[in-house]
């Protein structure tokens, strides 16, 4: 009776610990997946468009607007 109880407890502890290891591993995977998806989804909204040629050519070819600080006499200054 005592031996059976002890075995059952050991088995429970083993299962619990293995699930802990499993959860820790999949938690890391979930975090990484979330980051990858977040970057991919938010990035693709800018890079791709819903009309032909389905790529935001303007975004990829024009210089970044944020580098211009102010406009003066129709000219952009940085």
């Amino acid at each position: 009776m005592v031996a059976a109880s002890s075995n059952s407890r050991r088995s429970f502890v083993q299962t619990f610990m293995f699930w802990t290891f499993r959860l820790a591993t999949y938690f890391v995977l979930a975090c990484a997946t979330y980051i990858f998806l977040d970057i991919a989804i938010k990035g693709s909204r800018t890079v791709f468009t819903n009309h032909a040629p389905f790529i935001n050519v303007k975004f990829l070819t024009e210089p970044p607007q944020t580098l211009y600080v102010f406009d003066y006499q129709g000219k952009k200054w940085s």
Partner: protein, 533 residues
């Protein structure tokens, strides 16, 4: 007969020739192999030599650029004393204490208002708080005058080059010297005498403040709730302690001597144990590394507290528990995390993680946490979480390798003795691979402490030691780190200035810490190495 003899002679000659030709061929092949080996050896050896030379040059450069810091810092500290800035800072400290007490009264008022105190009670409290605030007016006036006098004296000294270590300061701060040239030259002794006359004024002001504050304390405002009464009692005790130490401050001002030499070791201790990193100040620059060191340490602690359990548990799971299909998917996936650029992670920290943590801290179900809601989204915890994600692949990969390298016989012997899988992992595999796991953790620490971009973007960049009186709340305050300060300020400093050299000294301290971690890792590995041969 002859023919047969001839045949034998010819056969003998051929055999001899053949025997002679084989060693010659072998020798030629051996020579070619040796030449190839020598070339390969020379190639790799020269590469290693180039790497060593480059590292040595980098180290020499670091030391060369950083070495001038201490002499410049000493000159800076001497000027601070000789120009009377130190004297003025004694007065400034007292003025700041009075302001802090006044601010505390404002906090108590806020508590009162939140508790629903009536308007009349609040007005009476405001009168009390305003009167207390007014007691500091004279002191602030004196401080303002003394500040101007000390600045004028410093400019005079810089112009005349009369202070100790003037050559160092003058050669390094051309701008300051040119600004000083515009200042009227005056008699230093007279200026110092005028500045020191503030001692008597301070004594008079202290007496006046004492009388006014004691009068105020004799008639405190009525407070409704017990919480505010307790807060006010604490404030009152602090105010009384403030008044009690004012005569000692007067004595300190009287005893202060501008000609008292500043010992050389102060240049080192003010850097290594200094709690202020203030640069480009109108008053005095301070280069104390402690706030930066504490920031780096706190971020690393948070990162390791998260990364070590996740990395080691992941390694155990993949090595011993996971199915072959899981193994083939999980291992490359986790290793792929290290491919995320740190700037992308930092950006993610600002845009997503920091906001999420702040939103959670503001949720109603989290209000039982004493330091929630947090005010800053970029703090130690945000940076630590992201650094943990960066350290997990390092810890996971190395720990998994260490576990996999334990001989199969160990595991089989454990099973043969009746141990189950968990017992085998905990009692046999982990101890046998402990040296590898410890190395993995320390390499993870090295990765975390040397990381720049994530901490620069996500740690908040406030150069101050967090308020540890808030307990764990200190981990939700912004900090700056050693790597972050170098990245942030190196592009703006004047080459050769004290600030430039101070940044190199921070780099040297970082270098020393990394060396110490590696040395510690080796020592730990040697100590815990278990024979697995």
């Amino acid at each position: 007969m002859l023919v047969s003899r001839l045949f034998r002679i010819v056969a003998g000659v051929e055999t001899t020739a053949q025997e002679l030709s084989i060693p010659a061929e072998k020798s030629a092949t051996g020579n070619r192999r040796r030449t190839a080996e020598s070339a390969i050896r020379a190639f790799f050896g020269s590469n290693a030599l180039v790497a060593i030379i480059v590292l040595t040059l980098i180290t020499i450069f670091l030391f060369r650029e950083g070495s001038g810091f201490f002499s410049q810092n000493l000159a800076n500290l001497r000027l601070y004393r000789q120009a009377g800035l130190e004297y003025v800072d004694i007065i400034r400290t007292e003025a700041e204490k009075q302001t802090a007490l006044s601010r505390q009264l404002g906090d108590i008022r806020l508590q009162q208002m939140r508790a629903g105190a009536d308007q009349a009670a609040l007005e009476k409290f405001d009168q009390f708080a305003n009167k207390f605030s007014d007691t500091g007016e004279q002191l602030n006036g004196l401080l303002s005058d003394a500040t101007d006098q000390a600045q004028a004296l410093r400019e005079t000294m810089l112009q005349l080059g009369s202070h100790a270590g003037a050559s160092v300061i003058e050669s390094e701060s051309q701008d300051e010297a040119s600004a000083a040239a515009a200042a009227p030259a005056g008699n230093e002794a007279e200026q110092m005498a005028a500045l020191r006359s503030a001692t008597d004024k301070f004594a008079q002001i202290a007496d006046s403040m004492k009388a006014q504050i004691n009068e105020l304390l004799a008639a405190p405002p009525a407070l409704t709730s017990a919480k505010e009464r307790k807060a006010f009692a604490k404030w009152k005790a602090e105010a009384e302690a403030y008044l009690k130490q004012l005569p000692a401050v007067v004595e300190k001002l009287r005893a202060w001597d501008p000609n008292k030499p500043v010992p050389a070791y102060r240049a080192i201790t003010s850097f290594l144990f200094g709690t202020q990193w203030i640069t480009a100040s109108f008053w005095q620059d301070w280069y104390g590394i402690i706030p930066l060191f504490v920031g780096s340490l706190m971020v690393s602690v948070v990162a390791l507290l998260i990364a070590v359990p996740l990395g080691v548990c992941g390694a155990i799971y993949v090595s011993e528990v996971a199915s072959p299909i899981e193994k083939s998917l999980i291992k490359p996936y986790i290793e792929f995390i290290s491919a995320i650029p740190s700037v992308v992670l930092g950006f993610f920290g600002i845009a997503v993680l920091g906001e999420t943590i702040r939103a959670i801290s503001r949720a109603s179900f989290m209000q039982w946490v004493p330091f929630f809601p947090i005010s800053e989204r970029l703090n130690v915890f945000t940076a630590g979480c992201l650094l943990a994600l960066m350290a997990v692949p390092t810890i996971f990969t190395l720990a998994e390798d260490a576990l996999r390298n334990v001989p199969r016989g160990f595991k089989e012997a454990s099973y043969a003795l009746g141990a189950n899988r968990l017992q085998t992992i905990v009692r046999v595999l982990v101890p046998a691979s402990l040296s590898g796991i410890v190395s993995a953790v320390l390499l993870g620490l090295g990765r975390v402490i040397g990381e720049t971009m994530v901490v620069l973007l996500c740690a908040g960049n406030r150069i101050a030691i967090p308020d540890f009186t808030q307990g764990l709340g200190a981990f939700f305050q912004p900090v700056h780190t050693m790597t972050g300060i170098i990245a942030q300020e190196m592009g703006e400093v004047v080459r050769g200035s004290i600030h430039y050299r101070a940044l190199f000294m921070v780099g040297l301290v970082l270098f020393a810490i990394t060396l110490a971690i590696n040395y510690g890792a080796q020592k730990l590995v040697m100590r815990y190495r278990m024979s697995i041969g």
